[in-house]
Symmetry: C2
């Protein structure tokens, strides 16, 4: 196989060559970033109640400290009423804290009586979770007209899936209108297209149901005719098709509420940890694309079964899905050769897709169900990022904000709602711990947090299990702490300090975090390379924008890894600009949230398309000043 064009393109060449060495290793680790890396964690015990007080569902979830109870519920498929975007104005997101105490906010005093506050009632959007608590969630009240999703986005519910129940007059010799005309004349607000399949079913369905039927529309297409009145039943699934982790959220399109959330590893994992190795696989084997496509389809199909089972929803009542994925994942699952994405000049087959049949994604939902594919901005700023920008309101918020989706390929957006710039930085697999000697995927026993307490390192592992290795967020924390303690100097070199844990092995300095888990000099370099790539990315965007780091008002850390990163550590190692940690926000799985929005609102779906015009992609790989900036950013901030 010829060397990848991507790898051959200076000045990324050095960086990518370096990364390339670790690709084989990456295969062995199969990092699962859905497992929640880094930062402080809180455990929330949710119970969803029915009208009679019965518990209908129960779930214990772990989220980064500081996330609102509303977001924590929403991200985990627990439905809480809300129509205002999380600003405490609709006062619908009422929950009851049943174990653990949460200080009431000012708004709680307006929403509740003193007795209710005393009994633990709070507005979920105002509850910042900083310790483990138990929460009861009352049932949804009336059918809402709006829902809150993404980063405080309030959207009016207007799903692409619409249902209309009609009772038609039966045909006579003096009224010989065709079946389709009879149906469509009874539905005034939609003039749909329809396939032959509809015409095949229509005569029978009409006559079997005495001409009382429910028409199901996906946008302007009539996709089903169902006997009787089924207008209250309509579901969709939002997919975040990640290279590593794939998340599915089943949504009740009538209420906008999540009904179930599941995540599993992308079944393509055995073919490599990142998009470049996946593209290689399609190039080396004529059957490769087909194999990878099938694996991605099987991943979505399994998730579909799982969310439908959990929520007890018939998959035939799922009429639409929305999928956010990077350009490579998107082209592969649609069976489009991704090779031109991996070779300079990195060309996509298309940026935007018309809705496709859900069967193209290998899904067994309604046989004429549709799939909305979030559009991509470029070969390395894909549909997941466009979805993330949508969910974060990058085109609406007037503050100067920096959006960073941290991963092997890191996507960066800088904008103030008027002007929006984006770029991609190939950070390599360090954050996914794949190129780290003791790196492990985020599972029980992985070191996920490291803090300095009384001048010493305090290690936190997932599930408090004995440490077996270190995952991405632990790595960032550990390096930040070692710099803070002066064990690493600002150039990233281990100082000659007197610390029993700093030892030498095979001619390399390593720092023992536990008896078995250590951090090597090379590991630190790996992280430096990764964070420098990202920092160079946003620094060049800031220069292009004509602003300085300090002008940035908010940093959104997005993605299944980024969301669990400690803001303080991110600042300390220079991964993000040096601003108040309070302004560094965990944005959650914004790709999935953007996909949700596309399902719940045709206007927002259109907004995703508009973003393609609004965001200007800045290609960094041909910039002559890249290498200089990159070297500058390798050091840790003093």
């Amino acid at each position: 196989m010829a060397e990848h064009g991507l790898l051959a393109s200076a000045p990324w060449k050095q960086l990518l060559k370096h990364r390339h060495d670790f690709l084989v290793m990456a295969k062995e680790f199969n990092p699962d970033l859905a497992g929640h890396d880094g930062a402080s964690r809180v455990k929330l015990h949710f119970r969803a109640l029915e009208k009679d007080g019965e518990v209908s569902a129960e779930k214990i979830v772990t989220v980064p400290s500081g996330v609102s109870a509303f977001d924590a519920a929403s991200w985990n498929g627990i439905a809480i009423d809300s129509t205002c975007g999380g600003y405490g104005t609709c006062k619908k997101c009422k929950i009851q804290i049943t174990d653990g105490s949460v200080e009431p906010s000012k708004l709680d005093f307006r929403a509740f009586t003193p007795d209710e506050i005393q009994s633990g009632w709070r507005l979920a959007c105002m509850v910042r979770t900083t310790k483990d608590i138990s929460i009861d969630v009352p049932p949804l009240t009336t059918r809402p007209k709006a829902a809150t999703v993404g980063v405080g986005r309030q959207i009016i519910l207007r799903p692409g899936i619409q249902k209309r129940y009609v009772e038609l007059s039966e045909p006579t010799l003096s009224d010989q209108r065709t079946d389709i005309v009879r149906l469509l004349e009874a539905i005034e607000d939609i003039e749909p297209t329809y396939s032959l399949d509809i015409l095949r079913e229509l005569p029978t369905v009409l006559r079997k149901n005495n001409f009382k039927v429910t028409a199901v529309f996906a946008d302007q297409e009539l996709i089903a005719i169902e006997g009787g009145d089924t207008s209250e039943i309509r579901y969709g699934i939002a997919f975040d098709l990640g290279t590593t982790t794939v998340v599915a959220t089943l949504i009740d399109l009538n209420t906008g509420a999540p009904a179930a959330v599941k995540s599993i590893l992308n079944k393509q994992q055995p073919f490599g940890a990142d998009v470049i190795t996946r593209i290689s696989a399609t190039m080396m084997d004529p059957e490769g694309l087909g194999k990878l496509r099938t694996l991605a389809q099987e991943t979505l199909a399994q998730l579909t079964r799982e969310v439908c089972e959990e929520a007890d929803v018939n998959p035939l009542n799922v009429y639409e899905v929305a999928m956010a994925g990077n350009a490579t994942m998107t082209q592969i699952i649609l069976g489009i050769d991704p090779e031109p994405l991996g070779v300079a000049p990195f060309i996509m087959a298309t940026a935007d897709y018309q809705p496709v049949d859900a069967t193209e994604l290998g899904l067994s939902i309604h046989p004429r169900g549709k799939a909305i594919i979030l559009p991509s901005l470029g070969a390395y700023v894909g549909g997941d990022i466009v979805a993330g920008a949508l969910a974060s309101g990058m085109d609406r918020d007037k503050r100067l904000r920096l959006f960073i989706d941290v991963g092997t390929n890191c996507e960066i957006i800088l904008g103030n709602g008027e002007k929006i710039l984006a770029t991609a930085a190939p950070a390599g697999p360090a954050f996914e711990a794949a190129s780290i000697k003791c790196g492990v995927r985020a599972a029980a026993g992985a070191i996920e947090t490291v803090k300095v307490v009384d001048g010493k390192l305090e290690i936190g592992t997932i599930d408090d299990a004995p440490a077996i290795g270190i995952c991405g967020s632990g790595l960032v924390d550990a390096v930040a702490c070692l710099v803070q303690l002066g064990i690493l100097d600002s150039s990233g070199k281990f100082n000659a300090v007197d610390d029993p844990n700093l030892v030498e092995r095979d001619g390399e300095k390593i720092y023992m975090l536990t008896e078995d888990v250590f951090l090597s000099q090379r590991d630190v370099r790996e992280l430096q390379f990764a964070k420098a790539a990202i920092a160079t990315g946003w620094a060049l965007l800031a220069e292009e924008f004509g602003i300085e780091d300090k002008d940035i008002q908010q940093v959104l850390l997005a993605g299944s890894f980024g969301s669990y990163l400690s803001p303080a550590s991110a600042v300390k190692i220079g991964l993000v600009p040096k601003i108040s940690v309070l302004r560094i926000v965990s944005a959650g799985n914004v790709a999935g949230e953007g996909a949700k929005m596309a399902l719940l609102s045709t206007q927002e779906r259109h907004g995703a398309m508009t973003l393609l015009d609004e965001i200007k992609y800045v290609e960094l790989s041909d910039r002559e000043d890249f290498n200089d900036k990159f070297v500058e950013r390798l050091a840790f901030p003093v």
Copy 2:
């Protein structure tokens, strides 16, 4: 099985009950009406020449006397230049009569030198064929902008299938346009939709062909990208999907010229001779619809192979087909339950169809080839008739014209371009000779013409073979002659004349046409029922229109049977209004011609849709005066 709603609807009931008795019999006959029934015939020997004078194709065809040489060629897949609609003005349809003499027309003297006229050169549209002749056809000259089809319709060539050859600039880091945008920005005049398949092929086709490709469009859809310049190669097939006979014409979409014509029996024949028995078959067997669908698909597939083979055209270069069929044939081949068409109040699933994938018709043409389905006006005035009305210019010609497609179900249109009325008359199988004692399908030995010569009957058989029976046109001729000779009275009863051929057998009077072939009293009644149904149809339309029979300026006899009917005989038995036989025109296979027009001109295709609004369907089956009119029309005109 319950009695058909169609059969149960008074006042058609008696007529249809009568017809029903003969349906079983009809199965045995399988009449093939493509075999050219009735009237006088001429044999034309065509030779198509290449530029160097070589004979590229040779064909001997039989057509009704009086048909123009141009139409005879066109109907039989022989390409002659013409852009004026057959009015002698374009002077492109030059042919050379090589055997037999044809008087030159006035226009020939303007088009040719005296020497050329002496050598047999004529304008094909001006040559009325009244005897057997041999004709040489020169090759097509420049690429025409218009073509002549149907009944003197001149249409500007603007096929739905368009090709555009482009040479694209290759992508660079500073020009990262997606493949699809790069392609479409180079094609200014079409902003197409496209399927995922196109995106799947595009990256490879572009790169394998150095970004020099031909884009193929079906209307506003991009259906193919072909390497290099293929813009000169594009074909379509026009199908006339009859209940009995199916005709396919392969068309060169670049020139509008026919490349090959083939006709075979509809493979559904074993399921019954008419649409009612076909509908019954789908009702009695849950697999029936699927079986009939497959048989119709196989019929079209066989014809597709045959026309492509004859013209040496690669089926992958056939990008579109157009199909004209009655509502039942149309719904069956598309897999739509036809039951509501056969039961009062006779409801179609739809009148019009969006273009469908040609695979829906079971065709192996270009894998993304399209099928245009001619729209239907009603359950018994189908796409074949709409196509016929289009090809006959029923919406354009200002003359008051009567269009009759004679068959088991007879469709009638009366109009003057401003006001157009249509209806259907269930004539029964008499014209197809199926309910006639000595009736046979039109094949060698069938009596196809009967004339009175010197007071005696002169019998003509197909291929001059010994008579084995009588087919439809022979039946009409025979009855007309017997009435003329006073052997039948005007009520349809055999007179007690002294004629050795008029004998009695089994208590019934029969007339011996040959030693073995005879016409019985009941046969005459069969024909009377059939012609009375038709005459009642047009008489009621005339009444609705507010005109008298004599106001009708032209009668068009259409369909594979009607076109071969003797106008004189049709007048004599009262099948058509009593007007000059010169005004009674054989219109040919207008359904197939209408399908051709839909292929050659998107404007004409749209015209077919417009016809649905312009033509008013008059339902006769609930008219109280029907029975009276019907009885009036049973007699032969005096």
